[in-house]
Amino acid sequence: MTDMSDDDTQGVGGTSRREFLFKAGLAAGGAVVAATGASAQEADPLITNVQDWASATGVGVDETPYGMPIRFEGDVVRRRVPWLTADPISSINFTPIHALDGTITPQGCAFERHHSGAIELSKDDYRLMITGLVDRPLVFTYDDLMRFPRENHVYFCECAANSGMEWGGAQLNGAQFTHGMIHNMEYTGIPLRILLEEAGVQPEGQWVYVEGADASSNGRSMPMEKALDDVLVAFAANGEALRMEHGYPVRLVVPGWEGNMWVKWLRRIGVTHSAVEAREETSKYTDLMPDGRARKWTWEMDAKSVVTSPSPQMPIDHGPGPLVITGLAWSGRGRIERVDVSLDGGVNWQTARLGTQGGKAALSRFYLEIEWDGSPMLLQSRAMDDTGYVQPTKDQLREIRGLNSVYHNNGIQTWAVYENGAVENVEVES
């Protein structure tokens, strides 16, 4: 594999010679690839003929008062793995991260995880109650909530079971399936601290128990310290109301912590003296270790990354030459400082360029532009956060946690890229 000079891995300015050539290649590339994949011998009819769309008018405004992606993007959708769960009601699907770029996840394809299905709960019917060890147990309507100060923050939400099917070895072919239990949105919400202060937390109130209004009444406990820190009671994502499947009208946002705690259809905030030890924090979302005991309260999501393209669902169609390697990186404990990419299964690494450096507990996007010579590659990415934590290999994790901890697999992912451009999920060993 051709090594890249430094100026290919740095600088967004586009001043390097290669980057200039690369961009020029892209500009001409569309037509060339569409014709033969080699240099054009004949004029491209898409250019020389007047196309329908260049002659007739298109659709008028209001054709779709709320627009959907154009039909050519119809396969950029959430997908589920049927054998994972007994039914699609208490189940999960996966964000098509392989087909997205940038860092913000559109709500319409952001993964869903329900324990008793997504419910239709109107703003009018919405109530939020604060109970327990408070001076004033309170009930808020949705309109009440709209009168509190609010904030905007971008955060990722990752299911603790993301990559959980990969503990025993490479299993699912696609970044969507191995890493798609994640989304990243700009939330608008009220700091939970403000609502707790409104109710007046009593000194013995050391924990907060949050619970949803759906039939699962999913409930989780968190220390008061977190509740008073950065947790949001959110009602909007990416500038619009939450989608039903993400907890409309109100969900909890718990930055950097496992997605199960981001209670949807939030209906109750109970202030307690200890953890409730509800089903979702005992029988589930605890990490079984090799000695038969289990870690509990494993809330933070450790630093992690994945190459989203090329990946099994995004093979290389264009043959050797300029290739954009891109992916996502995140950490629940801080912000992403650096992402390295290996083309040889972790023997050698080069530092990728951060297209977007996300904030604390938000996705970062990385790019590495290379000149692919067409030989096989073993692609990996490795995230580093601002605490100095370096994403471990899966084997490093297995050494400590064994094979049955289910949750919190943040190990390095390997994609095998073959000469024909096909990509497969594999595991490697030296």
Binding site: V81, M165, G168, Y209, P223, R268, T282, L378, V390, N404
Partner: protein, 362 residues
């Protein structure tokens, strides 16, 4: 500093911060929004139960009522005896399996607190018809779950008064997240950039498992390059993050592999109580290696029921014919057997199960 110490310290700091807030209420601005929650509203929603019994309502229920309620409300997903149906959670059995390659995490084998069972049954079950069970019904179902896990006798009555006397088998099986101590220092070394490890080879390929959904991969080109390293592969069954299907076990050449495979698929109904394969031990039920053709009641170290001991004394041998009759309806074949299994109606299923069991020698 250990995480638990860190937590204690954080808790102490937190307590002082909170005391500050309480001592100086003027510090926190309030907006006088919302209204006071009424006692009956709080009673309707604030129903979670804590490990020390906080929140438990007065009431009681026994195993027998619990069994009736279970059959009516729970068995369609969790099986008559908590063995699980389809891919729904197994509730009973599995004790002693937490270090196995495929642990069976049930209420009896894994859940640390009985309060969680009561709370979840009352607040989140039955699936599709939640929050309908009265406190007495919830006590009864909880009692039945304890019984099905072998933790109480069949005359047991559970109430708010004896509730906290019950200590779950895995109560001490959990500890607070120690990643900060155990993992973070290891994973905070400077990242190596070149010649970090010896050249690698591929050990596992996802394509071999074929567990990616059909049609879901829109552009995957599965043709593999022959030149690519093809190291010896481990075969493995798909691994769900929840309860995974049983792993493929070695087969005997004399058996019909299709029948054995079919039996393996049915094994889910048995595996919460029985173990087979290398190193299999007795669990809720006896280990079943070599059971076909063996004398009944003969596994060392297992406490058989009275009727099974009687049958063994009378010379019962588990021929395929006897096993077939037993599996069809265990409680009819052997009244008062402790095997909590409703039976297999389909003769083909029974044949498959017997073939599967035959594939495990002593």
């Amino acid at each position: 500093m250990s995480k638990s110490k860190a937590n204690l310290k954080a808790t102490a700091v937190l307590a002082s911060i909170l005391s500050g807030v309480i001592a100086l209420p003027a510090v926190a601005q309030t907006y006088n929004l919302g209204r006071t929650a009424l006692p009956e509203e709080i009673a309707a929603w604030d129903v979670s139960i804590e490990p020390d019994g906080t929140g438990l309502p007065v009431g009681s229920g026994d195993v027998f009522d619990g069994e009736d309620l279970w059959v009516e409300n729970c068995a369609m997903c969790h099986g008559d005896f908590g063995e699980g149906a389809g891919a729904y959670p197994v509730i009973a059995g599995g004790i002693g399996t937490l270090t196995d390659r495929r642990p069976v995490k049930t209420v009896g084998s894994y859940w640390p607190y009985l309060s969680t069972v009561w709370d979840y049954v009352h607040r989140s079950m039955p699936f599709g018809n939640a929050q309908i069970l009265s406190p007495d019904e919830t006590y009864a179902i909880t009692a039945y779950i304890l019984y099905s896990n072998g933790l109480v006798e069949d005359d047991f009555v559970l109430s708010n008064e004896n509730f906290t006397d019950i200590v779950m088998p895995n109560a001490d099986g959990f500890y607070v997240d120690d990643r900060n101590d155990v993992e973070v220092p290891l994973f905070s070394a400077e990242a190596c950039m070149s010649d970090c490890i010896a050249p690698v080879h591929v050990t596992r390929r996802a394509t071999d498992l074929q567990s990616t959904p059909e049609g879901a991969v829109t552009r995957f080109a599965p043709d593999r390059m022959a030149a690519q390293d093809t190291a010896a592969q481990d075969t493995a069954a798909p691994e769900a993050p929840t309860e995974a299907p049983a792993a493929a076990e070695p087969e005997q050449p004399a058996l019909d592999p299709e029948l054995v495979a079919a039996g393996e698929g049915l094994w889910r109904q048995c595996r919460s109580c029985h173990r087979v394969g290398e190193g299999a031990r007795n669990a809720t039920g006896p280990m079943l290696n070599g059971v076909v053709g063996r004398a009944a009641g003969a596994v060392e170290g297992f406490r058989y029921s009275g009727p099974m001991q009687d049958a063994a004394a009378a010379g019962l041998v588990w021929t395929p014919q006897e096993l077939d009759a037993f599996l069809e309806n265990p409680r009819q074949y052997m009244p008062r057997t402790r095997m909590s299994f409703r039976g297999m109606q389909d003769a083909a299923d029974r044949a498959a199960m017997i073939a599967y069991l035959q594939s495990f020698a002593e």
